[in-house]
């Protein structure tokens, strides 16, 4: 995965695109920094809590992929929908779910965003137009397409950001969805978060086509590869894509090249990749690079940056305490929320 950021508008050959040169104001830079720093600290706390067995089950963290979360805050609208897979803590936070409610969900507490029912893979929030984390690889691709179908049907100019991994891009559901979305010009922004691996399987080992953005060309879907370690590049790609989609021209597809620093889940030692490879990405760590840029270009003072950091650390510590001190849901809640019908006659 080179630095090169290629762009493949339909039919055209991919061209390389330089890093973002646009100027952004202080607020935007600080939003990106704050969002990424929040996700990083949240995930570090998650790993700690997992090691303390306060969080159980499958747990997939977003460390390394934060720049995409940052761009989700600035690159699309609050009214837009988002749906993704199980690597979703950072996406939920970017949508505006509180650290408290997310951490409590990971702890399985009744104060969690879905009352301890979903855990690490399944945050949801209607208020934040967040249609959830999905545990079945690729399942959210048609679902996101359907969410977009509903927006088109209702006549809004909202879109649905439909996120999936490089591994998920091999599911048949993607090809069926791309085809229908393109045929019906649905307002969907497909995002492949290509972090190089699906569990222990590298992208190279799953297809003859390794540039995942090229998948779009079979459908004449505008498709680009984007540098996912740089929030500005991702933000700009989101803006280009959403402008196209909102103009009624149908879907747009971004392959965002990123990297997960940790294993697939907490139980994966990630022996299938080299330290050098990992370090090559850590050198472009978006959280560090953006902080340095803010300071170097005097976008904000050291003091302002330190204050943001402190307030985030406090927020995450508070979230941990909130989660820890909250109660588990009562076991009898097992029977609530299986059906909308409240007096559904369960077999006992």
């Amino acid at each position: 995965m080179a630095e090169v950021v290629a762009k493949a508008k339909t039919g055209k050959k991919p061209t390389s695109r330089k890093k973002s040169v646009k100027k952004y104001n202080k607020k935007t830079w600080l939003t990106w920094f704050e969002t990424m720093y929040r996700i990083r600290k949240f995930e570090e706390k998650t790993l700690l809590a997992y090691s303390q067995q306060k969080i159980r089950g499958f747990c997939h963290v977003y460390i390394g992929q934060e720049a995409i979360g940052a761009a989700l805050v600035t690159g699309i609208r609050k009214e837009d929908a988002v749906v993704t897979a199980y690597r979703q803590h950072g996406v939920g936070l970017s949508r505006g779910l509180s650290s408290d409610s997310c951490m409590a969900e990971l702890f399985g507490k009744k104060t969690g965003c879905v009352k301890g029912k979903g855990g690490s893979m399944h945050f949801f929030s209607k208020k934040h137009n967040y249609f959830g984390g999905n545990g079945i690889v690729g399942a959210q691709i048609p679902i996101g397409t359907g969410i977009a179908f509903a927006e088109q049907y209702k006549g809004t100019d909202n879109l649905c950001v439909t996120m999936f991994g490089d591994g998920a891009a091999r599911q048949g559901a993607l090809y069926e969805s791309f085809n229908m979305a393109m045929t019906w010009k649905l307002p969907v922004l497909y995002i492949c978060e290509n972090n190089g691996y699906a569990m222990g399987t590298s992208v190279e080992r799953t297809s003859n086509v390794q540039d995942l953005y090229k998948i779009g060309s079979a459908f004449d879907m505008p498709s680009e590869a984007v540098d996912g370690m740089d929030p500005a590049s991702v933000h700009e790609a989101f803006q280009r894509a959403s402008e196209h989609i909102r103009s009624g021209q149908g879907p747009y597809y971004l392959e965002i090249k990123t990297y997960r620093y940790k294993g697939h889940s907490v139980s994966d030692p990630a022996k299938y990749r080299t330290k050098d490879e990992l370090n090559s990405y850590k050198e472009k760590d978006p959280v560090i690079v953006v902080e340095q840029k803010i300071l170097k270009d005097k976008i904000a003072s050291q003091k302002e940056v330190d204050e943001i950091k402190k307030s985030i650390v406090d927020e995450i510590n508070t979230a941990y305490k909130f989660a820890d001190e909250s109660d588990y849901p009562d076991g009898s809640e097992l029977y609530s929320e299986n059906y909308v019908q409240e007096d559904y006659p369960f077999l006992t």
Partner: protein, 326 residues
Amino acid sequence: MSRILTLRDALNEAMIEEMRRDENVFLMGEEVAEYNGAYKVSKGMLDAFGPKRVVDTPIAELGFAGIGVGAAMNGLRPIVEFMTWNFAVLAFDQIVNNAAKTVSQSAGEFHCPIVFRGPSGAAGQLAQQHSQTFEAWLANTPGIKVISCIDPHDSKGLLKAAIRDEDPICIMESEIMYGHKGEVPEGEILVEIGKAAVRREGTDVTLVSFNKMVEVCKSAADELAKDGISAEIIDLRTIRPLDIDTIINSVKKTNRIVVVDESWPFAGVSSEVTYNVQKFAFDYLDAPVIRVNSADTSLPYAPTFVEEFLPSPAKIITAVKQVMYR
């Protein structure tokens, strides 16, 4: 010589032995080769057999299950591993509409000797999508056979028999029981498909179960013994075809039966067992058949839900006391 093996290693041996025996047998699935299996069941197999016979696939369950079906129709004997049966739902078209129907719709011109295998059932706090059992779903379908077992010896023998069987077979294992140990003698083991095992003899009540719930039944039986209640435990091992005779013979002796089944209650394995017992042992029953299932709900994440949801020794003991009017 007898040895103690984990379920994981017993399954691993079964596949290795059958691949040595028949070069048309191959293993295919996600992470089976280079990663040695998501749960290490295929450990060492890539080294032993190479990438032609131990094949890593992309995440494409429908596709590779269908590739397995086609390969089986064309003379090979695939073992298709699903990382868990929850993901095999994507492949049900190929299992149910094709593997199961090959012999029938081709009037025997073709058949489909394929094994689909992987773990099934709840495995801790994995939430709704990752905690399901599929024995009843698949056993509902004529044309396939369904095995669900965690005893290392029997699992090895059943897997070997399944690989040699000419019909498509679905095998359900268990994520949290791969480390479960048992005695497995060295040398050839084949266990007949379609036969239950009496895991413990008893006189007062029959507990019918399968997969990891057999172990829960054993804990319950230990407790019941302290109360002077002698429970007979039957491990179905094969779900389809169902070994009704072994169940009926036991009920004729104990006159009371509790079915313990991790699947949901509606139209499940427990209903099928219960139907057969009332049909063939009606006159021997001293109490209605009672079943202990997982709750008739999805399984959410929090630990309080897992506890409430699953069958437990306490729930089994309550059911046994009910059929014994104690």
